[in-house]
Subunit: 360 residues, 4 copies
C-alpha cells in the first residue's frame, strides 16, 4: 500500500540506507511543462544538512527523471523519479540490529514483517519524504495551471503558539517561522532541547489559495478526510485540524457557522470545506508533530529476543521534525488537491459534453 | 467515491428523504455468525428521537438483510443492508430549495453537481450514518472473533474537558458521558444552548482493545492515517488526535517516547500506533465535532441565484452532534480495524504457507 | 470484489433465491436525465420466461430506484437499484444441498468459502446479471450524451457461424440473431438440444459506434483488456476476441494492418483499438459462451463429503445461455466505455484549464 | 493506470528510448528468498537480439534492485526494479515524428495525449514488457512457496496449430515451440515472412500447475476475467481462450461438463476455472498475437497534420511477436495468480483465527 491517491497516484519506494529512493507519479495530464527549477527549489527546502535546526546528514537530493517527460513536457505516461542515497552511514546503526528504539517503528515493522532493514529506520525513515516532496512539486506545477497555490510554515514550537501568519516571512526563515515575533524564542527552545540531548514538537500550518468550489468526493473521499489522512500519515504527526479544528468544537453554532454573502463567506471557520467539498474559500489545515523520537539520552527498551536493555542512540537527527515536516505537509496537500481536481472532472454531465464535443 | 475500505469495502447509498438508505458490505469472511441482536443494539444507540439530547425525528431503523447471509452465517458474498426511511417531513425543507444553509453542504453540493436533493440535506445528511453503524456492527462481529473490542464515549462538551474515562458509565448515559462528574454540567450546557436556539460542540473518544501488533499498511494506508480519514470524514468532525495527539507536540521527546519493557509499553502516549502500525497497546483516537450547524436563530445567507437573504431554519435537529456522532465514530474505527486485519494477511510468506498447506 | 469499474463503479449484490438482487452505481455524472422507459426496455430484453429459448423462471424484474435520482435526473450521489426476487422455487434445489453440479460453481464456492447458498447457484447464478443490465442501461444513457451507441446480437450457435451482421434484424429476433439466414437453423439446433435434455453454446457480437479516439488507460487499464475482463467475467464465457481476434493471428502483417487515410481507417481488423486506446473506428468484440451446464441427463459427480454419486438436475434453465448473455455482454461493454469516458477526462492539461476556467 | 493487481500491485514505468524502464512491486510478503539467478534466467528468455527470430536490438537487461530486499529476502516494503536502456537507436525513428505507423499506437497516443515520445513507440513499445517479466519472476518465486508452477510455449504460428504440448521441448526451443513436429515448419514460415519484409502471428499456451482450489474473487475479480485482462493487455494480443475456449462453445453441455470424481475432475475442458474460481485442476489459457505491425513494406498512412503519405519502416523488429510474447504471457499469469493467492487470504473467518491466534 505504497500508493497515494486515486486519479493522481504516487507510488514511492526506497529505504534510508538502500541504493535509492524515488517514486512513480501516474495520472499527470499530458502537456504540463516541467519546471525543473521549481522542483529543485522545493527539494532544497526539505534538504537536510543546511543549518543547526536539521540533521547533519548531507544529501544532494538530485532528482533524476527516468520517464514520462519528453522535450520538457509530460506525456501522460508515468513519471518515475529516482534520488540516489549518497550520504549513508550504516555503521551508526549496527548496534540497532537487535534493539527497538522507543518512539520509532522498529518494533512494529518487526512485529508485522518478521524481518526489517534496521539501518536508519529502513523504510520508516523520513528519508522517504524526499520522494513526496518531489512528487508534490509536480502536483504544484499542475495546480498552478488552474490557479491553485499552496503555502506553509511553522505555527507552533514546543507549545508556544504563533499569533500571526506571515508566509513571506516563513519563506526566508531557517525554521519556516510564520510568526516573526516568535521566531527567536522558537529557535532558542529548539537549540535548548538539542543541547540537553532532547527534542521538541511543533505544528505546521498549510493554506491553499484559489481552490475552486466543488473539490472533494463525498462520502468516502472527502477533501477534509483526505487531508487528514495525508497529514496524519506523515512521520510523527499525531493531530490534524481542518479550519478552526478543535477550537470549532468549543464555539456555539451561531459563532462557528460562516455567514454567506453574495461576495463569498463572511468568515472561514470551516477552513474552506463543507460536507467534504471545497467552498471556494482558502483551504486551511494544521498538523501537529511529536518531538523527534531520536534523542541522545539513555532509554529503556528491549532486544529482539525480548530482554530488557538500555539504549543510547547515535546518528544525526533533527531536533524538531515539524520544521522540515512542514515542507512535506505542503507536498501532501498539493497531492491531495491535484488528485481531487482530476477526480472532480465528470461530476456533471456537462463536463463530458464539453470535452467530447470539442474533440469531434 | 461512496466506498470505504480496501479489503473490507462498504458502499453506502441513500438520501435523508429518499425511499431508503443502506449499504453493501463486501469482503466479509465467510462463516461469520451474524448476531442480529448485537446489530440492533448498535442501531439503537445511534437511533434518533429517544431523548432531549437528540433530534425528534423518530426512525425505527430496522435493518433488512438483502443478501450475503444464509442460515445465520455470512457466505463470503456481499451483504446488502437496507433501512427504509419512514419519518421524513419533506415539507420542512421546501423553503430551503433556493437557499443555502450556513455551515451545511448545500452550497458545496450545488457548486459541484449543479443539482441537489435539498430535502433534509439529501445525501449530506447525517441520516446516512445509520448505514455506517449497521456496517460497523458487522465489522465488530468480525473483530470479536480475533479478540478486538471497541469502546467509545463523550470526553468533552462545549469546551469542558472530561477528566476520567469510564466506559461502563458511558454505556448507560443518555449522552454517552465518559466522565460521570461532568455529565450533569454537560447536559445543562446542551440544554441551555438548545433553549437559546443554538448548539454546542464536543468530542468523542474511541479506544480499541486487543488489537494485535502489526495492523496498518505503510506507507499510504497506515493505521493512524486511516483512522484520521475515517473520523474526519464523519459529518461535523473538524479535528482528530491519535494517542496524546496535540499534547504530544507539546512534550519533549524524553517525555513522549513510550519506554519498552518485556511486558509491553510502559506508557501509551502513542495511542497504540508507531510508524502507522499497531503496537499491541490499546488504539486511542479522539474526534472533535463542531456545534450543530442547524440553529434556530436568524442567519445571513444567499439564494441559489446569489441574492443576500436571511434564513430561519425549521425542522428537527440534535443540539450536539458529538453525542450520536460518537457511535458513528466507533463504527468507523471498527471498519478501519477490520479492513486492516484482513489486509495484514499475507504480510509474511509464512501466512501463505500456513493457509495453503493446510488446504491441501 | 463485487465492484466493476474505477471511475464509474457498479457494486452488485444478491443471490438467486434471496430476497432481492441489485446494485449501487457510483460515479454517474450529475444532471443526467433518467429515461426509465429505456431502462425497462433493456430489462425486458434480458427477462426470462418469454419464449421457448429461455428458462421458464418468470421474474417481473421491476427495478426500484432507491437513491441518487431526484426530480428525474441524477444528482451525482450513488444510484441504488433493487429488484425483488419473486419467482423462486427453492424446493427444486433441496437435493443439491450436498452435491456439486458439474460445470457449475458449486464446488469452487464450497472450496473457497466453506459455506454456500445452494439454492439456484446462490451468488453464482446468472440471476445477478439483471443488476448488470440495469446498471448498463444507466451507462448507455450516459454514453448517448456523448454520441456513443452500442448494439449486440448472436453471431454463432452450436458452431454454425453467421455470415452477415444485421442489428436491425437482431433487435426483433427472439434469439437476437444477427444473421437472418441462419436464424431458423440456429433455433432448430437449440430446440433439438433442449429436446434431447442437452444444451448448446454460441457467441455474441457487440459493436460500439461513435466511440471517440482516446478512450483506454494504458498500460493496465486498456480498452481491450477491460473489454476482455468484462466479457470473460460473464457466466459461461470462455473466449473473447477483439476486432478480428483469433483470425488476426492467422494473417500476415501486411494484411492485418489497417491503412490510415485522411478520412479514417481503410479497414477495421483492429476492432477500434490500438495500444489499448480507441481509434475512433467502431469498437468490436465477440464473446463465446459454453453450452448451459444445467442439462437434464444423468451426470457423474460427488457429494460434499467426497462420495461418488449420480446427479439428475431439475429446475428451469436456458438451453443456450449465449442468447440472453448477449444482452449482458452489451451492458458490460457499456459499463466499460462509460468508465473509460470518465477516466479519460484529465488526460490533457487543457481539460483542466477548460473546465476550471469556465467555473470561475 | 500503470498499475496491475490489487493486493500484489506492480506499477511499471519507462519508455523504449528513455533512460530506463522498471517497476515497483508492492505487496510481496516479507521473508521471501530472492533467487536472483531465477530472475536473470527469466529475463534471458525474453531478451532480444539472440537469434534470427527476434529483433536485433541487443539489450543486456540487467535488473537493478533499488529497494525492498535486505540480506537476500524481501522485507515487505516495495521492491523497485530498474533496467537501464542501453541499445537505443533513436535516429531510426526521426522520420516517424510526424507520421503514424499503421497497426501501432502512434495515432491513439496522439489522439489521447496530444504529445508523444515517438522514439520506438515510446511507452507503447514492447520494451516495457521487460519490467513485466522481472516482476513476474518475483511472483513466480512467491508462487513456488505454495506449490504453484507455470509453464508456457508456442502452440500456433501463422495458422498452423500444434497438436502436442511438450513443455520440456519448448524450454530448449529457440521459438519456444510446444510441438516438436511443427517446429521446423513454424520456423520456416517465420523466416519466409521475414524475408518478404512481412510478419506472422501466432499463439501462446500457458498452464499453471498446483493451483489450489479457491483462487478468484467473484464477481468482478474472477480468475478467468483477470487472466483475460492480463493477456489481452499484452501488446498485440487480440484473442484469449480459457480452457477449451472457443471450442467449448461448439460442444454440447453433455460433452463440455467435466464430470467430478472423488479423485478430481475427469476432464478439464473448463481450464481449471468454474464460476471464476480455481477448481484445483491445471489453469489453462491461450493468447493469440497479431502479426508484428512493423513490416518493411510500403504502407499507406497520414501525417500528424492529416495529409496522406506513404511509410517505409526502418528499425529492428521481431518477425513474430508471439514468441517473446509467450514469456510475457507467462509473467502476467504469474502476477495474476500471486495477486489472487494473497486476496484469497481472509475468505473464511478461520483464516483470521488461525493467523491471529498464533501471533498471540
Amino acid at each position: 500500500m505504497n500508493t497515494f491517491g486515486q486519479r493522481l497516484r504516487v507510488t514511492t519506494f526506497g529505504e534510508s540506507h538502500g541504493p535509492a529512493i524515488g517514486c512513480v507519479i501516474d495520472g499527470l495530464p499530458a502537456g504540463l511543462a516541467v519546471d525543473e527549477g521549481f522542483i529543485a527549489a522545493q527539494m532544497a527546502r526539505r534538504r537536510p544538512g543546511q543549518n543547526a535546526f536539521a540533521t547533519q546528514r548531507n544529501e544532494a537530493d538530485v532528482v533524476e527523471i527516468l520517464s514520462g517527460v519528453f522535450e520538457g513536457v509530460t506525456t501522460g505516461t508515468p513519471v518515475a523519479l529516482m534520488i540516489r542515497n549518497t550520504n549513508q552511514k550504516s555503521g551508526d546503526y549496527e548496534t540497532l540490529k537487535h534493539l527497538f528504539r522507543p518512539g520509532h517503528a522498529d518494533i512494529t515493522y518487526h512485529a508485522k514483517y518478521g524481518v526489517r532493514d534496521y539501518r536508519g529506520g529502513g523504510r520508516s525513515s523520513a528519508r522517504e519524504t524526499a520522494a513526496r516532496v518531489a512528487a508534490g512539486a509536480f502536483a504544484q506545477l499542475m495546480l498552478r495551471e488552474i490557479g491553485i497555490t499552496i503555502q506553509s510554515g511553522i505555527c507552533e514550537i514546543d507549545g508556544l503558539v504563533g499569533q500571526t501568519i506571515d508566509f513571506a516571512h516563513a519563506a526566508k526563515s531557517e525554521i519556516f517561522a510564520l510568526d516573526p515575533a516568535c521566531e527567536d524564542e522558537w529557535k532558542k527552545r529548539i537549540l535548548s532541547a538539542k543541547n540537553s540531548h532532547d527534542s521538541v514538537g511543533g505544528a505546521a500550518l498549510i493554506v491553499a489559495h484559489g481552490v475552486p468550489a466543488g473539490l472533494g468526493e463525498p462520502l468516502y473521499y472527502k477533501l477534509d478526510a483526505l487531508l487528514a489522512a495525508a497529514l496524519m500519515g506523515i512521520n510523527g504527526v499525531k493531530a490534524v485540524d481542518i479550519g478552526d479544528g478543535r477550537d470549532a468544537a468549543r464555539m456555539r453554532g451561531s459563532q462557528n457557522n460562516d455567514p454567506i454573502t453574495p461576495d463569498g463567506f463572511f468568515s472561514n471557520h470551516a477552513g474552506g470545506v463543507l460536507g467534504g467539498i471545497s467552498t471556494g474559500a482558502p483551504v486551511v489545515a494544521r498538523a501537529w508533530f511529536k518531538p523527534t523520537p531520536s534523542i541522545f539520552l539513555p532509554q529503556q527498551t528491549i532486544t529482539t529476543d525480548h530482554q530488557a536493555t538500555q539504549l543510547m542512540i547515535k546518528g544525526r537527527h533533527d531536533p524538531c521534525i515539524a520544521i522540515r515536516g512542514s515542507v512535506v505537509a505542503e507536498a501532501m496537500v498539493a497531492l491531495t488537491l491535484a488528485d481531487l481536481s482530476l477526480l472532480n472532472l465528470g461530476s456533471r454531465i456537462d463536463h463530458l459534453k464539453t470535452l467530447y464535443q470539442s474533440s469531434r
